[in-house]
């Protein structure tokens, strides 16, 4: 194998890497995909998006069952068999990654288990799973090695009770008291899972509010729905120290008034962000440039400074989202195959926080619209006015659109509520297509659905939504 030069090597088989590999194979390229795992999938399928959604699904069932009593169906208190829960989660992962393995074979992609390091701009050192070392050469490469959970600066203890998002998904027991450090989307999704499983969850966040950067009305709606959810919410509070104390961890905090205090938890989950997996790649042996955080710099064709090497997904910078990685994988492969139109020109990268209720956004936030000096109007349709939401006993939630007053184009959207994540794509498409509010308002939406709230919010822009009365 080492004698021949590989046409295209893709390093990392997450949603970016495997998408790129499939695309390249479909375009007739000879593809080699390298990843340490048995099957493609990466963090997303093995330790991220998919397993969390499996567990969040259980959380949803449990919460629904608990609330069903109000509607006339009483269940007895649910019993959680954690081993079975983990089994179910693992089954989901296995089914999906196994499916990808099948697709790799069907496409005749050369899948190698192992890790690689750049030796030069066209040579990799491959360490296979059996620790065999060999050098392989390539014409083109795509780096898709992703990111991993960042650690808390200044905290360097090793403890089985100190978790990151990956370890938190492999829990053998349900902690009684749990602290989540970081109120970003990973922290809040984990909180949703553990709270449903029966943990008493507290959260500590360095900034002023949950989900920094998101429009505050979206965050407020989430908080309104989760008033009694957390044991403690410690905002503008810093974690100073974590010490093992018997079977617990003692955490020292310092709040914004410089007041120090300590609390004990059975488990502490650090969810303070992600950092790129660029450290052990031998990038110094190439011309690839990185930014100060270690992300690889790329142009709009996903090409690095080393012109035959491309980078996609988390390793190529924010936002660290699987669907962004897949999109970039396609762009990179098109660029590699010489397609003139290959370009990363996505206008929106939708984002979904799978809490209960879900929060989904795409396009411009209000803050961004202000920064761009856009004369915009916000329209917001409350879900209490949606027949479907009420029939689902959804008391919270709204759909809002950010519309350019001048040309009536939809530039941004945010939805809080159940299944918001499944609704946001309509707005992503609207923004990509440069649809106007009228286009949405005049598209017949099926009744009764939650998606009607999108149509009605667009109608609000013109002051004639059916189910809200706008005083003129």
């Amino acid at each position: 194998m080492s004698e021949k030069t590989h046409d295209l090597i893709i390093i990392g088989a997450g949603p970016g890497g495997y998408r790129a590999a499939f695309m390249a194979a479909d375009l007739g390229l000879n593809v080699t995909l390298i990843d340490p795992e048995l099957n493609p999938g990466g963090v997303c399928l093995y330790r991220g998006c998919i397993p969390t959604k499996a567990l969040l699904h259980l959380a949803k069932i449990k919460t629904d069952a608990e609330h069903a009593g109000d509607l006339g169906i009483k269940f007895s208190a649910p019993q959680i068999d954690i081993e079975k829960v983990i089994d179910w989660k693992n089954k989901v992962v296995k089914q999906l990654t196994g499916g990808l393995g099948q697709l790799i074979k069907a496409r005749k992609i050369n899948y190698i288990r192992g890790r690689v390091k750049f030796v030069s701009s066209n040579t990799l050192e491959l360490v296979s799973e059996k620790d065999n070392k060999e050098e392989i050469t390539f014409e083109k490469a795509i780096i898709a090695t992703g990111a991993k959970p960042a650690t808390l600066p200044g905290i360097d203890i090793e403890s089985e009770h100190l978790l990151n998002s990956e370890k938190a998904l492999d829990l053998k027991e349900i902690p009684k008291k749990m602290l989540i450090i970081g109120a970003g989307y990973i922290g809040l999704e984990m909180a949703t899972i553990y709270q449903a499983l029966g943990s008493e969850v507290s959260v500590v966040e360095l900034t002023k509010d949950f989900m920094p950067g998101m429009d505050t009305d979206l965050v407020a709606e989430y908080k309104k729905a989760n008033k009694d959810f957390f044991k403690d919410v410690l905002l503008e509070t810093r974690v100073e120290e974590i010490k093992e104390q018997g079977k617990q961890l003692e955490v020292s905090f310092k709040d914004k008034d410089d007041k120090s205090f300590k609390k004990k938890y059975d488990k502490v989950l650090v969810a303070v962000g992600q950092k790129p997996n660029s450290g052990n790649l031998g990038l110094e042996n190439t011309n690839i440039e990185q930014d100060e955080k270690g992300f690889i710099k790329v142009n709009k064709k996903q090409q690095t400074n080393n012109e035959n090497i491309f980078a996609i997904g988390d390793i190529a910078g924010q936002p660290l989202l699987a669907h962004k990685a897949s999109y970039e994988g396609v762009v990179a492969v098109e660029a590699i195959t010489g397609k003139k139109a290959a370009l990363n020109d996505a206008k929106v990268i939708p984002a979904v926080v799978y809490t209960e209720p879900e929060i989904a956004t795409c396009g411009l936030s209000e803050k961004e619209a202000k920064e761009k000096n856009i004369d915009y109007k916000i329209v917001k349709f409350p879900w209490v006015a949606s027949g479907r939401a009420v029939a689902m006993n959804e008391k919270n939630g709204f759909t809002k659109l950010l519309i350019d007053k001048e040309n009536e184009r939809v530039l941004g959207a945010g939805i809080v509520g159940r299944n918001a994540g499944d609704m946001i794509s309509e707005l992503a498409l609207a923004i990509e297509m440069a649809a106007t509010a009228e286009d949405i308002a005049r598209t017949i939406h099926p009744h009764p659905t939650l998606a009607e709230t999108i149509m009605e919010s667009a109608e609000m822009f013109y002051g004639h939504a059916a189910h809200v009365f706008t005083k003129k």
């Binding site: 142009n299 709009k300 064709k301 003139k340 139109a341 370009l343 990363n344 020109d345 996505a346 206008k347 350019d404 040309n407 009536e408 184009r409 530039l411 990509e432 297509m433 440069a434 649809a435 106007t436 009228e438 286009d439």
Partner: protein, 424 residues
């Protein structure tokens, strides 16, 4: 050290050009200000000089390529330690880290004005960068099509709601620019009937074809015909020929008509205007620049005589001869072909009894001059031999009414026949 050579700002509103010739090859040693490529833009051919002394490392364009302003066309290897400046200002070496700024200062004086503009003007973005900062109202498939056709969507207006650019907009635009000419109706196979040959349009032909079809489609044309008795004007012309020649020009019918048109434009301001349909406004210009159509080997060129109202007949005559000469020897700068408010097209030298010129949009009127000839004209009760010149005036009926068109042309004829008419 490797330095990039970019297409500079050539003239206002000029974003693209065609590489007419590459004057150096890879490995060539070049010196500062030495021409590297010849670029044919909107009706002028200009040299792009080297900003540095060095050796050509890479040539990124070849003859016939379309290039945009600020596009990198060559890489020059500049020797380390050798200042790029031939004047040898050694201190500047320390500032090599700012490669973009330095070379600009060292261009010739003539260029420096343009360079200043570049600093203040937002840099033209290459196709690959534009998507980042600008919200282009077009679907992903349309944006992709535009990239395939090399069309910069940020320069296009969409026809859809909210300014959305449709696939049809892109296809039409592409047809207009000729970068990927789309035939509306398929051409038959002419070779079925006899031998044919094909020749690429040169840039002038492409621009002419595009701007004239645009004018034809947007401007509702009316052409007004009239005749002027130039017997006295001819006498005047002959009498003063020598005087003007001494001043360096040639007294022609065109220069006389030019002088008179300068006066007419002041009297009839709507002929010295443009239409702004987007804002539903008429733009009146308070300067009087007149273009003169010149027939050249490469095609039709229209150099512009500026401030016609402020120039004497001698000056105008001299300037006309100069511009015509420059047009024919390809020496016109782009600047000399822009900013016209009205155009005169004199085909009298060739012949013809009258024609309907097309308004050079966004101008709103054009005066056609045909061949003058002796006619029997009834003066009082007697036929007299008079020299008569046929004139035709095409105008944009959106802002000029028929009566105004007739009045304008009649006024010109009156002044030609009897200069005292100016007094009215």
């Amino acid at each position: 050290m490797k330095k990039e050579i970019k297409i500079p700002d050539i003239a206002e509103n000029v974003e693209k050009g065609l590489i007419a010739g590459v004057l150096v090859s890879k490995g060539d040693k070049v010196s500062k200000d030495q021409p590297l490529v010849e670029i044919e833009t909107d009706k002028a051919t200009t040299d792009i000089p080297s900003d540095y002394d060095g050796v050509i490392d890479e040539i990124k364009v070849s003859e016939g390529d379309e290039v945009s302003v600020h596009q990198v066309i060559m890489i020059i290897e500049v020797k380390e330690g050798e200042s790029e400046d031939t004047e040898g200002d050694k201190e500047k070496e320390t500032e090599d880290d700012k490669p973009e700024d330095k070379p600009k200062e060292k261009k010739t004086d003539q260029k420096s004005v343009d360079e200043d503009k570049e600093e203040t003007k937002k840099q033209t973005k290459s196709v690959s960068e534009q998507a980042e900062s600008e919200d282009i109202p077009a679907a992903p498939s349309v944006r992709r099509l535009a990239r395939e056709l090399d069309i910069d969507l940020s320069k296009m207006d969409g026809s859809g709601p909210g300014g959305r650019i449709t696939k049809e907009d892109v296809e039409n635009y592409s047809g207009e620019t000729g970068s990927e000419t789309k035939q509306k109706t398929k051409l038959p196979d002419f070779s079925k009937w006899g031998p044919v040959s094909r020749e690429d349009m040169n840039n002038i032909r492409k621009v002419t074809a595009r701007s004239l079809s645009e004018a034809w489609q947007t401007v509702p044309h009316v052409t007004q015909f009239d005749e002027a008795d130039i017997t006295k004007l001819e006498e005047f012309r002959k009498k003063n020929q020598d005087k003007i020649e001494k001043a360096g020009g040639k007294l022609t019918v065109t220069s006389l008509v030019l002088k008179i048109v300068g006066l007419a434009l002041q009297k009839f301001p709507q002929f010295n205007a443009s239409v702004d349909m987007d804002n539903q406004q008429i733009i009146y210009k308070h300067y009087f620049n007149v273009g003169i159509a010149v027939d050249t080997e490469q095609g039709l060129l229209v150099p512009v005589v500026r401030d016609v109202n402020k120039k004497s007949l001698a000056d105008l005559s001299a300037e006309l001869s100069d511009l015509a000469k420059k047009a024919r020897s390809k020496e016109l700068s782009l600047d000399q072909m822009q900013g016209g408010n009205f155009t005169i097209s004199n085909l009298g030298g060739i012949g013809g009894t009258g024609f309907t010129p097309i308004v050079y949009s966004p101008q709103v009127a054009i005066l056609g001059v045909s061949r003058s000839k002796y006619q029997q004209v009834l003066v009082g009760d007697e036929f007299e031999k008079r020299m008569v010149i046929p004139l035709s005036l095409s105008y944009d009926h959106r802002i000029i009414d028929g009566a105004d068109g007739a009045r304008f042309l009649r006024w010109i004829c009156d002044v030609i026949e009897d200069p005292y008419a100016i007094l009215f």
